[in-house]
Amino acid sequence: MHTFVLSYLGLQLASNPPNIWLQILEFVIAFLSIFGFIMTSAIILILAERKIMGWMQDRYGPLHTGPWGLLQTVADVGKLLLKEDIHAGSTDKAVFLLAPSVFMAPVIAAFAVLPFSPYIGLPGTALATGIVYLVAMSSLDVIGVIMAGWGSNNKYSLIGGLRSAAQMISYELPLVLALIGVIMFTSVLAGLPGFPSYGQSGVGTISLKEIMDIQNSAWHKTGIGILDFIFEGFTPWTWFFLFQPLMLVVYYTCGLAETNRAPFDLPEAESELVAGYLTEYSGMRWALFFLGEYGNMTIVSAISTYLFLGGFSGPGVTYLLGLNSFGWSFLANILALIYFILKVYALCFVFIWIRSTLPRLRADQLMQFAWLILIPVTLLNILVTGAIYLVVAALGLPTWVFLVVTAAINWAGLFAFIRIVGAATSATTRRAQAPAIRAQRRAALATPALSGTIPARVPELPQEATAGKQ
């Protein structure tokens, strides 16, 4: 029964025996479905962004195209597709024209390993090295940005491209390091009773789907129908954000920087660089960058969902799949898809929320934040997690002690982290302000005597007031 769903989605078309035409067909289906998904997702997200920011800013947002402005972004995309492809004469033509595709390609490639539900997904979802692949793909984006910055032959674009190169490379490190804590957890949990095992004990996993499964394996069938229905394959008390909240925050912050979203949107800072590396682009090439940005937003949110928020698990999914009938499996897939999209869009909402709240950082403060705060914090997390595991193992204590202690330390670390960031910011600010304060003390010694010169006699106002009308 399931094979119908699988083959329709191009999952196993090219498996056995290898057939070049089927493989090409599979590729086309995969590409079109991903591109369609990114397009739709971007259209929805842009509309959501405009509407949500409208609410936060006491205005309506788009209203006139379609009912309640719902077709606004559809119309926008239509306009962009039909627009003339303009490029200035002095651009480096090949680089300029290629840059949007180079930016977009890794985004599409990254989607190949994202499972949307137990069966909806592409062949890549089975990839055992999912996280490494995703991180590699998101690092490639920077090439497209630099190409755009260089090829435009525009000073604003160049500055934007270089800023973005520095920023994306710097934030790549804490982003990866933040995920290592989760991977260490999988190797602790794997092989425990009830949890899946990967070969010998102590070996974890870096496959997205397996990490997701390991977060949802803590329920043992009780035989009580309703409880099994809800909690089979859905155990929020073992989701990794409970054990690693600090890493979720750090990962998400780095994700903001990776996707060039506010408050890290320096490469395309409108008020400084006009539009950064996008300045010279228009029409569909510009739209490709835009789609790529929103695609990246979705990817960052999706990875957070898989690694920290239990992926597409939700009440009923595993139970309905276990009934082994086509109808119930289909329903389970739809349910899983809904859970997944809800979680991803909830995280995307935080992107939008942050954008409408915070001002932008300066380039040097941005680098300082990555190298002096985020990287030490993530390294420390790896060290502490490993040390606690060694101590617990050496003392022969049960695994739950490890989980509780790590979680406690990480939650404490989360609040300490917020304090650290505040303190570090004000410390650097105070240092920056020091010359101003010194000069101010000097000036206080000789305050200019301007304020004392009030004229001796201030003439009176004419007194002719009578009972007045309003």
Binding site: P263, S271, E272, V274, Q433, Q440, P448, L450, A465
Partner: protein, 380 residues
């Protein structure tokens, strides 16, 4: 402040690579040069080595126009001078003509002027704060500020018939008395504004990123501020207690005392903070003016064709940006022989190259925004 040696040291890269300074034309078409200011920046990497502001893209010859209009006709052109605070410009011009003619407008007219001036000051500061935060990359405050400013513009529309270029003041008084219920609406608006300001400050003032971007950036010490002839919030943010409403009180400010808002830090944050505090102070002044509003006529009878006696005069008031002065020479005819407008933005802009040197390029916009200039008035 980067010296030549430091700059040269930066140029000599490692292993025979060469780098050179980049000349960047920021403006006149740029999202955040507050109109059509053009900055020619010399950049070393992202550090500003030198900056030359180029002005004049919005020159409309307002002073010349004033010389070719009857005295009453000039009021409308003063609106376009600093287009974010037309009411204050009008007051300055009208005040100069009255001084020339020796007219003292009636009490009620003076109170109405104070009330409208303070409302205009709030509106101008709201735009100043909103665009400043926009320059720093925050997108929400500007819309909140414009929402509040909208209330003031509606009040002006009810008062003078026009939202922006109000053309409400007249030599010797004002155009109309308040329409029905105007004062009630004004009080309600002020209450609402006070609440909104608390909300706005909650969004901005304590924000670590905002503080890191503004504190210690663009420092002006008091001596420097005086040497450059700065006025208004920029001067008061540098610790110099100078406010024309207090030190040279004019019109109804002789009866309603103003508490000048002074900060000692002298940086962008202080300038922002002074503007916010001045909004609160203006709200207080408006309320006091409404409470004390006297009855009586709203203007003295003046001939349509004013012919002030021969002579010259200078009248200055505290505008939202600083000292807004008007200098008039009369030869006894219907037209001023010479009119000169002393614009605070024009004078305040002079210090920009001094402030920018050695700062990062992102700070260029942050510092320029904190000056709160209006190009309509710089270029006139």
């Amino acid at each position: 402040m980067a010296t030549n040696q430091q700059i040269n040291a930066g140029v000599e890269g490692a292993e025979g690579t060469q780098s050179q300074e980049m000349l960047l034309n920021m403006g006149p078409q740029h999202p955040s040069t507050h109109g059509v200011l053009r900055l020619v920046l010399t950049l070393e990497g992202e550090t500003v080595v030198d900056c030359t502001p180029v002005i004049g893209y919005l020159h409309r010859g307002i002073e010349k126009i004033l010389e070719n209009r009857p005295y009453m006709g000039g009021i409308r052109y003063m609106d376009n001078c600093d287009y974010l605070s037309p009411m204050l410009n009008e007051t300055a011009y009208v005040g100069a003509v009255e001084q020339l003619m020796g007219i003292e407008p009636p009490r009620r007219a003076q109170y109405i002027r104070l009330l409208t001036n303070e409302l205009q000051r709030i509106a101008s500061h709201l735009v100043g704060i909103g665009t400043y935060l926009m320059d720093l990359g925050a997108v929400t405050p500007i819309l909140w500020c414009f929402r509040d400013r909208e209330g003031i513009l509606s009040l002006f529309e009810a008062l003078g018939g026009s939202r922006f270029n109000v053309n409400y003041l007249r030599v010797g008084g004002v155009l109309h008395d308040f329409p029905k219920n105007w004062l009630k609406e004004c009080s309600a608006f002020l209450d609402q504004l006070e609440k909104n300001m608390v909300e706005l400050e909650g969004l901005i003032t304590g924000n670590e990123i905002f503080e890191a971007r503004t504190q210690g950036v663009g420092y002006i010490d008091p001596q420097q501020a005086l040497a450059y002839g700065l006025t208004g919030p920029m001067l008061r943010a540098s610790g110099v207690n100078w406010d024309l409403r207090v030190n040279r009180p004019y019109m109804a400010y002789r009866e309603i005392p103003v508490r000048p808002q002074v900060r000692q830090e002298g940086d962008c944050f202080a300038r922002y903070k002074v503007r916010v505090q001045e909004i609160y102070e203006s709200i207080r002044l408006c309320r006091e003016a409404i409470d004390k509003l006297p009855g009586g006529p709203i203007g003295t009878r003046t001939p349509i064709a004013l012919r002030p006696p021969r002579g010259e005069t200078y009248f200055a008031l505290e505008s939202s940006k600083g000292e807004q002065g008007v200098y008039l020479i009369s030869d006894g005819s219907e037209y001023p022989w010479r009119a000169k407008v002393r614009g605070p933005s024009f004078v305040n802009l002079q210090i920009l190259p001094e402030l920018l040197r050695g700062h990062k390029m992102s700070d260029t916009i942050a510092i320029l925004g904190s000056l709160d200039i209006v190009l309509g008035e710089v270029d006139r």
